[in-house]
Symmetry: C2
Subunit: 341 residues, 2 copies
């Protein structure tokens, strides 16, 4: 049987610069090639389109960094890095269908550019290719790395279902702890797992793996708090999206859920009135922003982001690796958590 | 990290009866238990609903038979059997969305019973659990078994895209060989791979594995030819679906594609007229059936089914295993290929 997938040559010769920039370049050098067969043309064109979305490639770089933190860069880390990036892109394609999103990063989403059936299939196929890459790893840790990947991948799907459920629930029925669990699964466990997978490939011990997992998870949560904050209070010139977009759509965010907890009964009533306004009412965004400031949820959000960032950094400090090796991870965390304001 | 999946106890104690009936019962005994977590409730309820569809469980039984043909039943074969059945059900859930099918085996499809978003996620999650099961296998063949599975799984997705493409093509643009490739990938390669995976687990040599793969593939094609035949010429009492359903919807089938080849220019014109009739025109089904008989595509289909069945049996004969061990496979082939007429 002729197979359509053979282990790619993913290891750049002589890669010894382990900085963020160098690892990103090395990954993109491979990833930006067309990785897939030519036919069926529509299916693989849709996949190519989905992958060329200008994403930041944070997960694969975290995977490579998990490796280089504790040992020399292994070809298997490149395979795992491909797997997490393919999986991440699969989730974007399917989430966009579920969210009926017309655009991603300014371009039509896959189901709009092609059609829903092909978008479903493109996602399914991306998921399979993620496993193709994982299955090509040569090291004896393959089964354990796959188990970490699968656990995170299931978490992402469960988190997406929780998100769908919460969208349909009244605001008062969604607690901040429940939201935190959902958003962690949906957005942070794959970051965490990427780092742990790389660390396993590099030969890290169990305890260091767990610290790196926790570092990645808490950086992810801090990023999400920041994302919600910037949607409301970001500089429109620097922040990539329409400021106030979450407010217009009544999206449940860190800010909205915490504001409900923090504000007085009078403010609660005011908030309900503002939420009841249509999205295009000119009073809605300024009204909610003022209320956020009045109950100081803006300050809370910045402090909360700081708190998760500190937890993350403590875990990184606890990793038994030379301080110099930790620099690329600190650089990446800084890049993710100091933008737009 | 607490994982949500731990290797199940899938091996029934003292299983020594390797007949079709006994292996099916052993598999269903495990598979009919709720295999998944409780929350998010909607997601896992939808999965449970998808799996309790009264399917024939042919693929997992083929996987177990591939094992017992060449060696004693291994726990890993049960894990692989779960994987192929979960994967197969994932494809049904997603295909039903793409086909906008309201019913499957007389029950509402998952996207109708729940909603499209949950059906997409339920499929995605089923796919992940298939890999969870595969990843729990203990034998040294794990990587090779996963590669065979992945190759078939990709084939199924590609076959589905080809099917979508062909649906939108004019009849004259779809050749019989192209259709055969499509239907083989969509419906037969997973049957073939199931058998090969079991054989690998049982310790079969490469050549025997290939013969078993070919046996499964050709049985699958023969079954599909029969399915198309029965849709047109089956006994309505015995055949599970509405007879003539394919004709009503102008579905491209073995019969329609071959009829175009076999019939005279006058009959071609007549066929075009019949295809142009609306599905509820009382003249459509009898007209097409008469034309099928006139150009003898009914006889051709029975001969074609026979031809693929013979190829399959020849491959099974070539497998270096005791004749007695082949009996359950012959029994299963007979069960699949002698129904409804």
């Amino acid at each position: 049987m002729q197979t359509r997938f053979s282990p790619p040559q993913t290891m750049p010769a002589g890669q010894s610069d382990y900085s963020f920039k160098a690892l990103l370049a090395a990954f993109e050098d491979q990833f930006n090639d067309r990785l897939f067969p030519d036919t069926p043309a529509i299916l693989y064109d849709a996949i190519d389109y989905a992958l060329s979305n200008g994403g930041k490639r944070v997960r694969p770089v975290l995977c490579l960094m998990g490796n280089t933190l504790v040992g020399p860069l292994e070809p298997d880390a490149f395979l795992a890095a491909h797997a997490v990036e393919l999986y991440h892109n699969f989730t974007l394609v399917h989430d966009d269908i579920m969210d009926r999103a017309p655009l991603r990063r300014g371009r039509p989403t896959v189901h709009i550019r092609y059609n829903t059936s092909t978008a479903i299939l493109a996602g399914d196929t991306l998921q399979l290719y993620a496993f193709e890459y994982l299955n090509c790893m040569q090291g004896r840790y393959r089964q354990k790395v796959a188990a970490v990947f699968l656990e995170a991948a299931l978490g992402v799907c469960e988190g997406q279902q929780m998100d769908l459920d919460m969208e349909n629930m009244p605001l008062e029925a969604v607690s901040y702890p429940d939201y935190l669990v959902m958003i962690t699964m949906k957005t942070s466990v794959l970051l965490a797992a990427s780092l742990q997978m790389g660390a396993m490939i590099g030969g890290a011990g169990e305890e260091d793996q767990q610290h790196l997992y926790a570092f990645g998870k808490n950086i992810g949560i801090a990023f999400q708090v920041q994302d919600d904050y910037l949607d409301a209070f970001g500089d429109p010139g620097k922040f990539g999206k329409q400021v106030g977009g979450d407010i217009i759509t009544n999206k449940k965010t860190f800010l909205l859920l915490k504001a409900r907890e923090l504000c007085s009964p009078a403010q609660q009533a005011q908030l309900q009135e503002l939420l009841a306004l249509p999205g295009d009412d000119a009073a809605k965004v300024p009204g909610v922003l003022q209320l956020y400031k009045d109950c100081k949820v803006d300050e809370w959000a910045l402090a909360e982001k700081q708190r998760f960032q500190q937890i993350a950094l403590q875990h990184l400090e606890n990793v038994a690796a030379p301080e110099a090796n930790k620099k690329p991870l600190l650089e990446l965390a800084d890049l993710l958590l100091n933008r737009g304001h």
